[in-house]
Symmetry: C2
Subunit: 408 residues, 2 copies
């Protein structure tokens, strides 16, 4: 990289193996879709791409909602859109917080002029539905918010009871499935979701830059009937719905056309693989990864009953410089994993088991690298135990061969 | 396109020649950048790509501002971010309106809890700076907003006097350069801009999905010192500034990594071509296009003194079905142009002379197509007059050969 802008050369990224909790590697046909000929955002062909994408997203979200589309922004855009459309000034929202992304939701509620009633659990634990019920009995809430998979802790939040509590108290449920859609079962209709949003670059394995979102018909009617306008023009879901689904396909923004091609292909691959097979694949690779981690005598973070298949949080040994391990893993093995966020910075690694990155070769390489780099710092002996433990999981699963091969 | 989602096939777009006012066609090296290996959003390599992009954007914006970055959204995201960061509830903003995008700014001001004092001019005319001065004398305004190039009308707004008026009244100037950055001279420092924003897919010829934006140091200080938090978490410019420029590169969102590679390459090409040469190229192709339009005895829309080189608005003949011409142009010639917006729907065509789409071959093909399709509806005789008129402009300019070739 040149320091003088007059001599900046074309971009030449190193080849990375992406094992952080997103972005993931991209399937070859998703890469191909990115460079398919660009059309205009109102071209009849592109409108048909939007139709296809919506139809495929409905299958991936397992929903009957009409409004199922991708917003022109990242997963954070999905969160902002969900909350800014449902919360009016003075509204109360019950926010489940057991990690960084729950905290972010509470902050957005306050910026919307709402009151955030927080229901907390320690990082590494799910939120207790009884605590949500108590909060809903104590205060009239317009909205309840929860994070299905906390990327900051690797914890999965059960949602059936929270959804039922929200329904009983006539509150609208918003669920963040950024770390889970396409990796584990996501069922907004069963949970009674008003809005469920995700991100393109995690278990769906599309490039970063789009936020898939689905909105119930009741929630859309609520948004259209609000007393105050949505304070955010860019994310006003009525405009997006009219561009995606109204007869006139009303212009609102210039869609990120190439990212939409890529997302369409990514969700097409999800549907082609089959949701159940895909979820089983994620579980298998998590099992192999955690077997290897155990062989290294490392502990996993958080409550074992609620650990996500898609984000594996590993406690780093006290005597080890964890940042050095991550840097060497990147520079010597080409493998990216993530460190901890917030209070867990320096204390955990977060490893993504997501989409196209969730493969036998990636898992084995990662474990080999971690074992080598820990031994370099005097932790363990680099005997190959981690790879052997993971390999035995794969061998046992070999009968279900399709789930193990690199190409799903 | 399959109607059954279980049989959706990979995306296979038709090849289009993009002559609407964005998106434009993409230079080959921008397409290559899109499929360069994906890295994580905190990868040291990607952070250096952000650094390069910021440095190149500073040259394109001709600014000394530190804060010069791309937001993860479309041009509308740039507008939303500019206004939501500067306007606090109860603030007054003077909004120059002479087309659709001015109207949108006024709507966003109101959604921010601000009062929009509108200074209007008819569509096709620029706003009179004296009207802005009068509005500023009548009311204490926090912000003044103007659209440098109105994509809806093809009119260029002079900004020196408006910038001076804003400075005299201690108001912050926001300028929309979505239709102009990289196509004509854009000088936010000279105009005294607090914020100047654009879009990736117009004269810069990057794919749609990013909004380049620059913020003056004073405006950043104002944003950081606001009494009320920015009501929009996703577009809070302090977070973006810290991700792009702070020592800790604080995580805020997962950057659209591949779009950022592509934008970096697109602005690299702009700098490589040279701003003055690039502006001259846009003017030459506008001159050729309008010569052809005149040969067809069609009128241009709007005040001749203020017509943009980058968006040419053409009055459609009364006796012609203009939507049919556009549809046939797309289907038989593969060329996309745009229709009118708002009250001009059905009355004008809007033709982009932008970035990599602004070439001799595209202009000649477009004119040939329009002439043929107008004759089909009984308007004119398809004698080749339009192409001949444009060709003579190119012949006269042949001395400056570099400006005419397909590859700039």
């Amino acid at each position: 990289m040149a320091s003088d802008s007059t001599t900046v050369s074309p971009v030449r990224p190193p080849q990375r193996i992406l094992m952080a909790p997103g972005p993931t590697e991209l399937p070859p046909t998703v890469i191909q879709a990115l460079i398919a000929p660009l059309t205009g955002h109102k071209d009849p062909f592109f409108l048909s791409v939007m139709d296809d994408t919506a139809r495929l997203l409905r299958q991936v979200f397992q929903t009957r909602n009409r409004t199922c589309l991708s917003l022109p922004g990242t997963g954070g855009a999905g969160m902002e859109a969900a909350l800014t459309n449902l919360i009016q000034p003075g509204d109360t929202a019950v926010v489940c917080i057991n990690g960084l992304f729950g905290e972010r939701m509470a902050e957005i509620v306050r910026r919307c002029g709402g009151k955030a009633v927080t229901v907390t659990a320690p990082w590494g634990e799910p939120v207790d539905p009884d605590d949500v019920r108590r909060a809903l009995r104590a205060e009239r809430a317009r909205v309840v918010m929860a994070t299905h998979g906390e990327t900051s802790t690797g914890i999965q939040q059960p949602l059936d009871e929270i959804g039922q509590a929200a329904r009983e108290h006539d509150a609208m449920l918003v669920v963040d499935t950024v770390a889970t859609l396409g990796g584990i079962r996501v069922v907004p209709d069963q949970w009674n979701c008003a809005i469920c949003f995700s991100a393109s670059q995690k278990c769906l394995s599309a490039p970063p830059g789009l936020a898939p979102i689905t909105v119930s018909d009741d929630a859309m009617a609520y948004i259209r009937g609000r007393a105050t306008p949505v304070q955010n023009w860019y994310f006003d879901l009525d405009f997006h719905d009219r561009y995606w689904f109204a007869e006139e396909r009303a212009y609102h923004h210039t869609a990120p056309v190439l990212l939409t091609y890529a997302l369409r292909e990514a969700v097409r691959l999800v549907v082609e693989e089959g949701l159940d097979d895909r979820f089983a694949r994620h579980k298998l690779h998590q099992k192999a990864l955690t077997a290897g981690i155990s062989a290294l005598e490392l502990d996993l973070f958080g409550n074992p009953t609620f650990r996500l298949p898609t984000v594996v949080a590993v406690r780093t040994p006290d005597a080890v410089d964890e940042a050095r391990v991550r840097a060497e893993l990147l520079n010597e093995f080409g493998v990216e994993i993530a460190g901890g966020l917030g209070a867990q910075a320096g204390k955990i690694w977060r490893i993504g088991v997501m989409g196209y990155s969730a493969t036998q070769d990636n898992i084995l390489l990662l474990l080999a690298g971690i074992e080598t780099l820990l031994a370099r710092q005097g932790y363990g002996n680099d005997t190959g135990a981690a790879v052997a433990a993971a390999s035995s999981v794969y061998s046992a699963a070999r009968g279900a061969a399709a789930a193990v091969a690199h190409t799903p």
